[in-house]
Symmetry: none
Subunit: 217 residues, 4 copies
DNA sequence: CGTTAACCGAGACGGTACGTCCTGTCTTTAG
DNA sequence: CTAAAGACAGGACGTACCGTCTCGGTTAACG
């Protein structure tokens, strides 16, 4: 829920030595987002971020292993803003999450950073894990929350025995998540078309129509 | 269909001076793919590619503006292999295209390059255009081809008047394409889960089920 | 005669607060000499010395202003060992001091440090003064002592009136000191040739022969 | 006689690739001398020299392995100016060379650099060799030249059989060189006293007086 | 059959960023 | 007040690529 640099040292109190500056952390992450907006991922440099944040390069490298890790943390906080207000029906909730996610992808710092770090993560397992916990899980939460709400409303059948705790064993949540997130990202970043109200409506219709076909059996 | 470096000079046969070496082109593109496999996108360097291809750096820059353009051309040929064998039903065809696209994404040169160039393209319109014509349209072709085949089979209603030439005005083709490509990419590269037969079957069911709900109007 | 860090505070016993650790001083100076032997002047770092001595960097800077001052103190103690045993004649005494000084210059900590601090002192007057009192005067003492002994033996004319206290007003002591120290250092460090018995013998002959020519007037 | 960076590549004329810029060489060496005057040895940095010379750091490192080698070449040219005008007598010639060498040591770029590179050379054999050929031999030449001239005048006995070509087998030249150079350097840089006419006169008297004592046998 | 113009390899060039190291200061807890 | 620990701003290090340039030397089509 909170964005912590997740660096190695125990950070416990009573530890010897000068403690790390919390102000530096926030200054760095803000500077990173600002640099992403101005320069984009590939022209963002650690030196530049350090200068913007009024911080020494050492201070960056003490906390993050490199550009990838830093950027993941910098954009992760954007995903904390994602929420799922109850709009009264499953369809409205899906449309809401689609529009909300699309709005996030419109922000230039997210647009340039997200695909880039995912691309890097294809050759860097720890980075992939970091992305998963910092970003992907934050999104997926909305899907789970939406399903639970629809089940409470009676729009979807109640959870099977033994799965009250969360996930479904059959991977339908995963499938739905991949379809929603994938379609929105593809529309926004690859096709380069706007995710407007009309598209969201049609996409939601397709998804919910399909859901009826796939899940009952 | 064929991969042409698309550099500026007219390439006309009646041009004076020594013509460009065609062997160099293929050597460079092969070297680029090899370097992508070995090093991944971010550690691939023009110098390295030049060395691998036994070519001077000048020769690279005479043909491509930079790393992005070179890599797009290098991976674009992979998409020429995509085909849509007639498997007898719309469902089977969709499953086929899903599996085929997933297989492509398993190849390390594609995995590391695709998301990276898309990320770059968020701040580089000419690059986005190049990606669209070299890669995205090649994929989309399969969707159009599949729809036409299903319409021929009678699984889908025939095209409306005036749209025999290709696209539908309502954007359903685009929607379907974003859903298929997006979901597969997200499953493979973000969630990091395999696109196996079972997943393809369930995804196809969802898609075709939804299609019935969205298109009949 | 003894090596004191010569830092500012009065060191009085009735002073408040925790007194400085004397053990730290010696540990630091030993660590400095060890680092000089291993790494040489230019690769020696304050951080490294602190680590070797098991001491915090702060403790170093509390006592010495920087690398230069620390190294001067660290090698100064080596010059305390210089002595001038009475070998019975002026020539033998000169040979003795030449060999002894040469032996000192063979020690790796002295070899790498001496020229370096002198080089630094060309742009740092306080450092030059520190070198003079800590090192140069210690060497010069031997020259004065040798002259006095030779005068006592009658090998040299007795001191003129009014100069019993030490130096001669005409600067002959300075000249001799520059010639002896300069020649030995140049032979050892610049020419890179050994200061062996034969060279010492020939040098002494030259010096004493010249002394007869320059001083009698 | 001329100062060449003495870098590895053969510099042959029919060599492939763009040739090295001669202008860069001279700009770099001049910038190095200027930086030595302004900042002194220890605060001189490769980055700064590059900036002053309007040259990339790479260009420096292509030609010189590091600060030491660069500085040796930069100050070596100063020693090309050393000459031994015929002043009519051996004593006058010695005084001349002493004053000339002292004048060189007064120049701030030489003062700060000479001892420093010699200090570094105590742990770096190739550097010592470079200093020997670039600097020391240039000085020693004057001693040999002075001896030959004195022999021609009849002030010194003619060279023994078989040594017409240059050096004497007994090392007297070396001894004299170490005494002259060592004494002047020590006076100027360690004692910090001026090498004035009076000191030069007294030193010459000592040297020549001693020479009579050491060489006749 | 020689011009000629564009090609090719090689590699130096001015830059920028990298990630590491060290400096000298500051801030914490402990004695 | 000192000590150990360690974070801090700053800056140099030496390396790697970037994209451009300047060379000597091909290699075709044109005249």
């Amino acid at each position: 829920m909170c964005s912590r640099p997740a660096a190695t040292p125990p950070t416990g109190p009573g530890r010897p030595g000068r403690p790390r500056s919390a102000a530096a952390d926030t200054a760095i992450l803000e500077a990173t987002r600002a640099a992403l907006v101005e320069l984009g991922w590939s022209k963002l440099s650690m030196s530049d971020v350090a200068t913007r944040a009024g911080v020494a390069k050492t201070t960056l490298y003490r906390r993050w292993a490199g550009k990838n890790e830093l950027v993941v943390d910098a954009v992760a906080v954007l995903f904390d803003e994602l929420e799922l207000p109850d709009r009264g029906s499953l369809a409205a909730d899906v449309e809401g999450v689609v529009r909300q996610f699309a709005a996030l992808l419109e922000r230039p710092e997210a647009k340039t950073a997200l695909m880039a770090v995912v691309a890097e993560s294809t050759r860097d397992e720890p980075l992939r894990e970091r992305i998963r916990t910092s970003i992907v899980e934050r999104q997926k939460r909305l899907v789970l929350q939406g399903r639970a709400r629809a089940q409470a409303r009676g729009e979807l059948p109640p959870p099977a025995e033994g799965q009250e705790g969360g996930g479904t064993a059959d991977g339908t949540d995963d499938l739905i998540f991949d379809v929603i997130a994938g379609a929105v990202v593809h529309r926004a970043l690859v096709s380069g078309e706007p995710v407007d109200r009309e598209w969201a409506r049609r996409f939601t219709a397709l998804l919910l129509g399909g859901l009826a076909a796939v899940s009952p059996d």
